[in-house]
Amino acid sequence: MRLGIHWIWAGIAGLAGGLVLLGYFVDFELMSQVQLSLMEVTALLASGALLLGLVNLVSVHIRKVGDQESDWPYSAVLVLTLLFTLVVGVGLGPDSGFMLAVFNSIQLPVEASLMALLSVTLIISGFRLLQRRSGWGSLVFVATVLIVLMVSAPWPGGDQGLLGELRAWLRAEIVQVLAVGGARGILIGVALGAIATGARVLLAVERPYGD
């Protein structure tokens, strides 16, 4: 077996991961300090990675503009606005009144409008679901959506009466039992995946840092 340089990186990654993981289970001051030190380095590297990502984003869109690729005007707008906010943010600071005004006047309404459009899109998709993909699965799906909406939506008569009780019961059973049961399964799956991935990285079976 040839000992390559990738084993050095694998050893470093396994050692750092093991120390951080050990810090969760061992209540030892030195161990906690080592864990925090490693995580600070990680946070610092993450910030640098964010900056590199920003540079990469700018270069990609500048190339698209230079090559006149499809939708290059959007790339041009992105680059221009990014440079503008970067210059203003570095110059005036991210907490300046101008930057807040830009955020409150542009970014916040735009993203809120997108969320509103999402609601319209979902309604139309539900409307056409049975027409496009007819079947029992689609019918059950749409029926469930209708039921959840009806039990969640405010009624003109309020929650009073038997109907109110029925809606409350249905809402609790659907949202707090069925949905939570499904969510738990998702969370357990995510946890198992994270453990497996961590174990592979610690054992150098998977080397996201490269060979």
């Binding site: 946070a43 300046s96 807040l100 609601s119 405010p154």
Partner: protein, 778 residues
């Protein structure tokens, strides 16, 4: 014929003046003095073979003696005629008797025909150009003739040849008178040629008459009197001349004269053998050496197109078959031996005409060929006619200039240059031995050449290659099948517009409408009461940390959800500190505080503070949970206050060393990841401090397991607008959530209505389709 007394003698052939002592023209070699063969019977020329015709010439017959005597008498009586006879350019009409007739026969020989026929008359070929061997033989032959002429003198048949009838004399006089008049040049030239020819033939006739054999003459006369033959029919040649006695020469001459004057006369082809015809006196055109070669081949009959009738006055004798001249036997035997070596081995283009003319001069019809050879000759003639008819005068092909330019040099074969005859090599071996100019195959076949097919690759430039690529692309595009592009139908999103309009109307009307459309929920959610209880139990001397980890798009919902809780904390007098693990979090925090009028109600740094952005994501959360002071180094200060001071030096955060120093951590999240991060990274660091999750309705099921566990990691849970409205009702007022309740209800019901219509439509469609299928199956 003697011409003494004259200073110069005009050559009858070339017309040039020669000294009187010369026997032969010094220019053309033609004989100047006609040889009188009438006296040949008395003496033989030297060197003549004694075994050929000696006996007939030694014993002169009676009829010949009478003719000679008559000729001598007439020469004495007609001196003027004799003088005219001496005139070389005298027309043939001046001559009479048999000699005139024979002269006329000779005059219709093809004069214009070049080659041997012309040489026979000694006009075109000078003596200097003759081959040496031929020249030597000719001189011997001429010497013999001169010797014979000297012995015989001027007697003989000259007198007989001058016998001209009266009618012919008058015609000759008329001709002389016409010549005296002005004639056009072309006519003068024709007449001059005609005179020269006639003169030559006259001399030949004289010589022939002198040496004619009696039997041959009789046979010729009999042939003339016999039935006419087809000119095309070959004349049979008998090996030996028949021995026919000569009877009446005068009658024969008269018959010939009458026949010649008759316009409808067609000279019959003689049935006599070739040897007999050659021996005829009138058939021998001349005794010049140049005529020997021509005499070997029979003269071609005069062609009408070559000698126009009105100009030359071609008589009926023009159609007569050629008459072979009489040639001494010794010469006849010697000629083939001398001529064969001089035959060029290679016939070039220039010589082909001569050869063809020689071939044409040979009257094959006069040769008695075997039957099988005659059939073969007919077949060859028919093939030649077909080839001649099939030949088309095609112009040689020419390559276009552009193609000629692209033609590789290797493909151009060197042009084979035909060397002149002198430079051609005589074949020394093989079946072509002795031939000159035979094509040698070796220089062409063995010539090294480059292969002309596929020997080189195409050498093109980049530009040409690019053009070829474009052309190929164009061709390939043309051959490709183009799919019919569907014309995109301009579809108006009516459904979207309707749904959008309904939603907008359903949301806008409740906002504008001041009344309450949907009843405020009175039934508390299950998790609200513990939360309210928990907040009420929190210590108010410690700041409550609000983590703003939601997107700007979710700000509308999250601000309504966080509003009651934040109001509750402010109402309790708890300082509020905000933090965000998202880049847009600090601005959203400021927007949230502004929406709840916190800056107006609290002092910055004292009642509330914004720690700003916490970098590092999950790691940053872990660091902040482990050591808040080391993780958050700089606060978000929109007003510029306390810019130089650390956030941890403010009054609100001065007592915070660790996460558990906060009264509670409230995570405002619209995403499951950030909620889990805070749950997983801060659980062990919070100690007894509660962790509250304020979530949107969408992610609440994902986080609820942390809340509903036996050992919950989330201590408080607030999700959905219904809980917020209820919370506000608990707080005893109507907040932002309550104001959106009607709009929220309207939107929900529009969505319910749209989906219901869609489901009904889909179910109906499914039912109809199933019914159709059922009907179809039935």
């Amino acid at each position: 014929m003697g011409i003494e007394g004259m200073t110069e003698i005009r050559c009858p052939m070339c017309g040039k003046e020669n000294p009187p002592e010369l026997e032969v023209c010094e220019f053309c070699g033609a004989r100047l003095k006609p040889m009188d063969l009438s006296s040949q019977g008395a003496g033989e020329p030297e060197g003549r073979p004694k075994d050929s015709g000696d006996e007939p010439r030694e014993s002169t017959p009676d009829w010949l003696a009478r003719i000679r005597a008559q000729a001598e008498d007439e020469s004495d009586r007609e001196p003027e005629t004799q003088s005219r006879e001496d005139e070389p350019e005298s027309p043939p009409q001046e001559r009479g008797g048999t000699g005139g007739l024979l002269d006329r026969l000779g005059s219709y020989q093809p004069e214009e025909a070049p080659g041997p026929a012309a040489e026979s008359r000694g006009r075109d070929l000078p003596e200097a150009t003759m081959p040496e061997s031929r020249d030597r033989a000719d001189r011997d032959w001429r010497d013999q003739l001169e010797g014979a002429a000297a012995e015989t003198g001027e007697a003989g048949l000259e007198g007989a040849s001058r016998e001209v009838p009266d009618w012919l004399k008058s015609f000759a006089e008329d001709s002389e008178g016409l010549e005296a008049e002005e004639v056009p040049p072309w006519l003068a030239r024709i007449r001059a040629q005609q005179r020269r020819a006639l003169q030559a033939e006259e001399e030949e006739a004289k010589e022939a008459a002198a040496g004619a054999d009696e039997d041959w003459w009789e046979q010729a006369m009999q042939a003339e009197e016999g039935p006419s033959h087809d000119p095309e029919e070959p004349t049979p040649i008998s090996p030996e001349p028949p021995d026919v006695p000569f009877e009446d020469t005068g009658a024969l001459e008269r018959d010939l004269a009458e026949t010649a004057d008759s316009p409808a006369f067609e000279f019959p082809e003689s049935d006599l053998p070739r040897e007999q015809v050659e021996g005829m006196p009138g058939a021998e055109p001349a005794q010049f050496p140049e005529a020997e070669e021509a005499d070997l081949l029979p003269d071609e009959p005069a062609k009408p197109e070559e000698t126009p009738a009105p100009e030359i006055e071609v008589g009926p004798f023009a159609e007569s078959p050629p008459v072979e001249p009489m040639i001494p036997e010794g010469i006849q035997e010697e000629e083939p031996q001398e001529e064969l070596p001089s035959t060029p081995p290679l016939i070039l283009e220039g010589d082909e005409s001569d050869e063809e003319e020689e071939i044409e001069d040979i009257d094959l019809g006069s040769i008695d060929l075997p039957q099988w050879l005659g059939e073969l000759q007919d077949i060859q003639d028919s093939e030649l006619e077909e080839e001649g008819a099939g030949q088309v005068d095609l112009e040689p092909a020419k390559l276009p200039s552009w193609l000629e330019a692209k033609r590789p040099l290797e493909t151009i074969r060197p042009t084979a240059e035909v060397e002149p005859e002198e430079g051609q090599v005589v074949e020394t071996s093989g079946p072509l031995a002795g031939l000159r100019g035979a094509l040698s195959a070796e220089p062409i076949v063995a010539m090294p050449r480059h292969p002309t097919i596929g020997g080189k690759s195409l050498d093109i430039s980049e530009r040409q290659y690019a053009r070829a690529e474009i052309l190929q692309r164009m061709i390939s595009e043309e051959s490709e099948e183009v799919e019919a592009t569907r014309r995109r139908r301009v579809a108006v999103p009516i459904l979207r517009w309707i749904v959008s309009a309904l939603l907008f109307f359903a949301v806008l009307v409740p906002v504008l409408y001041k009344g309450q459309i949907f009843a405020i929920p009175t039934r508390w959610p299950q998790e609200l009461a513990p939360l309210v209880t928990m907040v009420e139990a929190l210590p108010n001397d410690r700041p409550m940390l609000f983590v703003v980890d939601y997107d700007p798009g979710s700000a509308g919902e999250m601000e309504r959800l966080a509003g009651p809780l934040l109001d509750h904390a402010i109402l309790r007098g708890m300082p509020v500190v905000t933090l965000s693990s998202r880049p847009s979090g600090p601005a959203l925090s400021e927007h949230l505080l502004s929406a709840l009028n916190v800056p107006e109600r609290l002092d910055h740094g004292d009642g509330y503070y914004d720690l700003g952005y916490l970098a590092g994501g999950q790691t940053g959360v872990h660091l902040f949970a482990a050591s808040p002071r080391q993780a958050a180094l700089r606060g978000f200060r929109p007003s510029g206050e306390e810019s130089a001071a650390s956030p941890w030096s403010t009054q609100i955060l001065s007592d915070v060393e660790k996460l558990s120093d906060f009264a509670a951590v409230v995570v405002l999240s619209s995403g499951t990841e950030s909620a889990r991060n805070w749950v997983e990274q801060t659980g062990s660091r919070l100690g007894t401090r509660p962790l509250v999750m304020v979530l949107t309705t969408g992610i609440s099921p994902v986080v609820r397991p942390y809340y509903e566990a036996q050992q919950p990691q989330v201590d408080g849970f607030l999700a959905g607008l219904r809980s917020a409205v209820t919370y506000e009702q608990v707080l005893g007022g109507s907040g932002m959530a309550s104001r959106l309740w009607d709009a929220y209800g309207g939107g929900m019901w529009v969505a319910i209505g749209a989906l219901s219509v869609g489901v009904a439509y889909g179910v109906a469609a499914l039912a109809l389709e199933g019914r159709r299928r059922g009907l179809g199956n039935a």
